[in-house]
Point group: C2
Chain length 657, copies 2
């Protein structure tokens, strides 16, 4: 290692140590052990432009082990991103750009929010998929970059990473290069306590190219391994780099270096051991600053060269380049709104089917709409007809067979969205949203536009029984901030739900039925108001009670309205497609839909928890506060009280006070 | 294969086919392909007593691929369990004993509820752990059985199974024998679409003994492989059995045989192909009935022999056998209540620490209390001091290093609980409850006594930031039926929460703080009432407003009460430890705690969704409906409105109407 290289690596180490010490919280061990490999990636490989973190053709770098965030902040600062040293000094403080774990959208250069282990691993696979897909469509002149990540023991223990690894190997994502910080220490102690599998053999079994670098401080060995990884154009790469957590400190190779500050004494000893000045803290030697900030010029040149290629391509095919620029800017392709179908008023269909029709209507005008299901496509209706399977029918195909890997799918779909240029969706049964909730939450934190298609959304599932019948899921998803949960009542609301999802800047859930629902009459009802989240679907003069339904229960409310009318009771029916959108309306609109002086009865085939926000103290809720039962769907619905008779009875009780 | 064997296998196949046909729903393909391996296990190996499904020393059999439920129902019926043929004819119907997926507690002989893939895989590992642990404590004379499972492609794709497999290999659970129904078909089609990893190599990398049986109908080859698996006393076994989904039918080896009835035509063709009578359906030839019901006598003899050994052991050590019988009956060991500590009124501690103290106070009198954390034990405070690590310090040790494998931990802990005899707990940060929600839900469906210790339960976590700060989690857990969610306000409520969890027949969540909380005064406050879920912690004469707090926000409510008093406003403080318990009280009690005529202000550092059930239309909620931020915990709390000033202001607004 040259003296300069050594200084650069130590600068990264001790910026990290000093940051953690200043915060009196954080994880110094990973940055100290992994500084060398990170330096090699950033100094010798990473194609990026620190002055334009949004450059489309940059390499992506993911710190999957997000607890080592100071490593990333140090690199971003040193290579010239808009992250001043003062921000590093404010590590983990209120309103700083250097939170405890890297946050996408907050700190320039952070490609994804990491911290919950395994997610970054899956995000990277999604980014590599996006690169392959876009390269297939727009050419390698315009799209040609790698996805690197540093992953940890913890990442590799997580099931979400196992799922993503198996799929990445299956798909042969050869531009995915992961460096495994193999430091043999996790929070409880040695990995021998819990993690004695043969990681190399495991990744080879997935179809990965696996290499071992014995000395994690050997820059040239790491470089050589990365070059080998790049040379493999068939397989993703895992480079296992043997490192020492807390390298150089008295706590090296112990769990004590993992999740807490070294403390002044050990920090001092580490600096002495590695020949680093004790003062000043947050030291960046001039040579280091100069060497590492050369990334700015390199990045500017790389982007300029790319811009020339882009312009050349524009001369050949202006529409193609224009589309590329449009989708990379996050804009939807022209004509998407007009492509959304409307459905006949007298039709009937499961909303999962309607969703499939919307997807297939959008697909021709939205070449960047793509996705798939966790081995349930025939049921979730998410296949794009006439298109192929990504990986099997080439890298430009739009259907994804994610396998029975919900969580991996979630992390991958997020990575596809984060890469930019794509509108990805991931689908499974609503009940299995539980399996991927970690990824759904991260899509909400990051506000990336992942679209989650969750079908079979109630006990209406029927015979499969309680393990497959969602009870609490729709409500549990509504508890997640930033997530738009849409439960459409018929085919036309499903079209509206897709429209809302596509327009929303963050992630959405489409909660769709297995069972057929009648269309509610597109000529008669103001489906356009659905965008407001809730609206009066069918009013009555001098209404005495409001029936609020969502999804499959709206048709039931309509039937009950009629039955009540026969008894001389006037009922208003409100369809409540989306709580989040309704909350965003002004008080007047909300009060116009749900007047304070009318009793309200909510009907939803799920838990009642939460509904009192809308029905108030005097209202009532028909829901289901226990698990379901195996029986044909209509039988289950009837047995659990989703009948006209029950709605009428409960509504009458409200009216009669 | 003998003619009789052949008839038995075909009986299993066609009972399954006929069941699915009668229901017009279900999965015929798996039972048809896996009937032979299941028959070998049940006819030649399984130690069980059909007339006493609760016999402690039975082998456990898990159908992890629960969609093949008719396979299991057929076996249970044929071997003499209390499952009449009429119930098989009522497959998937309301109120039958044969639901779409096997349900623990409903059908005799079903050891665990399966369907959500990968869970049964993990449950089996937990059962094998329980067997090893109990054998270590009570001797192989009393506890000596295997855990078998049939697992599918889908199981092996799931991350939860990967996690459990890695841990099972690490722990060397040699009495775990899994037969992999390697049929190369999943719902979307060939497994080549998504699953091309080398499964054998993967399981070898985990430290499993892997064998391959090329012909899934070769009973002797399957038998030989199981004997080899039994002979390996160091490693768990995966026997990869090449099978044909929908064997014998025209839909063999296609996805069409997976998840829907064969249809009359294909069912008929299958019977003709395999030389099976077309009529009657649900045919059980007399020879088959006689042969397979021999399991009854074999089982009675096996249990009698075991009973003799148990009685012999009783003669030697009556206390030991008595304890064994007590814990296997689900009773708590004597003296557990007295062991629960009380904490000084003037103390202060994080509730995670209090929980650790309760665990360690219980451990000496509850030798069957055991568990661990997903690599966070130093933070979740779940180590039993002075005890060792299971697997490393022998099979009798009580601390588990689950690794960074939350979901696998969840499924394993459920398996430990299901085995009987143990009170297991699993711990991680509250925010990562998302990673294991699939298992938490199943614990609730099964009502098995898994105790989930989720610490770091709010933005009070502080510097780790939004990825580590629960916002929606406590409420999202409350949406799960049967699950008791306990959020104690101080050390004494934590002790009460443990008591409630131990007494509850189902699963519980303990939501615990990272940060220190003042004890609320054990001499002064009626902590015993906490068992009612909510209670008046501190009242005021002529209270004008009720402040409802949970967990860390109760102390804030107490401070606000004082500040309000200084302004001449009388406030009552209610601590709401557990919504589920409070709901179970009678109307009078609930109204006595939360009077209808008083305005109510709830304070909880989580989403407000749900709270209107308790505060009503005119009440208010101080919560947090967005993600958190990285900053020291007290700063985050203050910035997000958890201050005395804010509580006072909002309470005044309520009082002043």
């Amino acid at each position: 290692m040259s003296k300069l290289d050594d200084m650069c690596v130590n600068t990264i180490r001790f910026l990290s140590v000093d940051g953690v010490e200043a915060a009196n919280a954080g994880h110094p061990g990973l940055p100290m052990g992994a500084a060398a490999m990170a330096y090699v990636v950033w100094d010798r490989f990473l194609k990026h432009n620190p002055k334009n973190p949004a450059w489309a053709d940059r390499d992506r770098f993911v710190l999957s082990a997000g607890h080592g965030s100071m490593l990333l902040y140090s690199l971003l600062h040193l290579t010239g991103y808009d992250l001043p040293l003062d921000e590093l000094k404010r590590f983990r403080q209120w309103d700083s750009l250097t939170p405890g774990h890297p946050e996408y959208g907050l700190t320039p250069g952070v490609e994804t929010t990491t911290g919950p282990l395994g997610q970054g691993f899956g995000n990277g696979a999604g980014m590599a998929i996006a690169e392959e897909f876009l390269a297939a469509h727009f050419g390698a002149d315009i799209v040609d970059h790698y996805t690197y990540a540093i992953v940890s023991d913890g990442d590799l223990m997580e099931g979400v990473a196992s799922e993503a690894a198996s799929l990445a190997g299956h798909l042969g994502l050869s531009k995915l290069i992961y460096l495994y910080d193999d430091n043999k220490i996790s929070i409880e102690g040695s990995t021998d306590l819990a993690f004695t599998e043969d990681v190399s053999a495991r990744f080879e079994s997935y179809g990965w190219h696996v290499q071992l670098v014995e000395d994690g401080n050997d820059l040239d060995a790491i470089e050589a391994a990365i070059r080998q990884a790049q040379a493999d154009t068939e397989r993703p790469s895992l480079i296992r780099v043997r490192t020492h957590i807390g390298f150089g400190s008295p706590k090296q190779d112990t769990a004590g270096a993992h999740g807490e500050p070294l403390g002044e004494e050990a920090a001092t000893a580490a600096k002495q051991n590695l020949g680093w000045p004790l003062e000043p803290t947050f030291l960046v030697p001039d040579e280091v600053a100069e060497h590492m900030s050369a990334a700015i010029d390199r990045g500017a040149q790389a982007e300029a060269a790319w811009q020339e290629r882009l312009d050349a391509a524009r001369a050949t095919d202006a529409d193609k380049v224009s589309l590329f620029e449009q989708i990379m800017a996050g804009e939807l392709p022209d004509g998407w709104q007009d492509a959304i179908p409307t459905f006949d008023a007298d039709g009937a269909d499961a909303t999962r089917n309607a969703s499939g029709k919307v997807i297939n209507a959008l697909a021709p005008v939205m070449p960047n709409l793509l996705g798939g299901s966790a081995d349930l496509a025939p049921s979730t209706k998410t296949m794009i007809d006439g298109d192929g399977a990504f990986g099997i029918d080439g890298p430009g195909a739009r259907n994804f067979h994610f396998g029975v890997r919900e969580h991996g799918m979630g992390a991958i779909v997020n990575g596809m969205a984060l890469h930019g240029g794509l509108i990805p969706y991931g689908a499974t049964f609503m009940v299995f949203s539980d399996y991927m909730r970690g990824s759904v939450r991260l899509s909400a934190i990051m506000q990336c536009k992942s679209i989650w298609v969750f079908t079979h959304d109630s006990i209406g599932v029927g015979e499969d029984g309680p393990t497959h019948q969602p009870i609490e899921h729709v409500m549990a998803l509504r508890t997640i901030p930033n997530l738009m949960v849409l439960r459409p009542a018929d085919s036309n609301e499903t079209a509206m739900a897709w429209k809302m999802a596509l327009q929303y800047r963050g992630p959405s859930v489409l909660a769709l039925t297995r069972q057929k629902l009648p269309n509610l009459g597109v000529d008669e009802y103001p489906v356009a108001d659905a965008v407001k989240g809730a609206y009066v679907l069918s009013d009555a003069d001098n209404a005495q009670v409001v029936l609020i339904g969502t999804g499959s229960e709206v048709a039931l409310a309509m039937e009950a309205q009629e039955a009540l009318a026969a008894q001389g009771i006037a009922a208003r029916v409100v369809s409540m497609l989306c709580w989040e959108a309704f909350r965003a309306q002004d008080d007047d609109y909300r009060a116009s839909v749900l007047p304070a002086d009318l009793p309200k009865l909510a009907i939803e085939a799920g838990v009642t928890l939460g509904w009192h926000e809308w029905v108030g103290s005097d209202g009532d809720v028909i829901g289901i506060d226990h698990f379901g039962a195996s029986a044909p769907g209509p039988v289950a619905m009837e047995k659990f009280g989703f009948t006209v008779e029950n709605v009428v009875e409960r509504a009458l009780a409200l009216v009669n006070g």
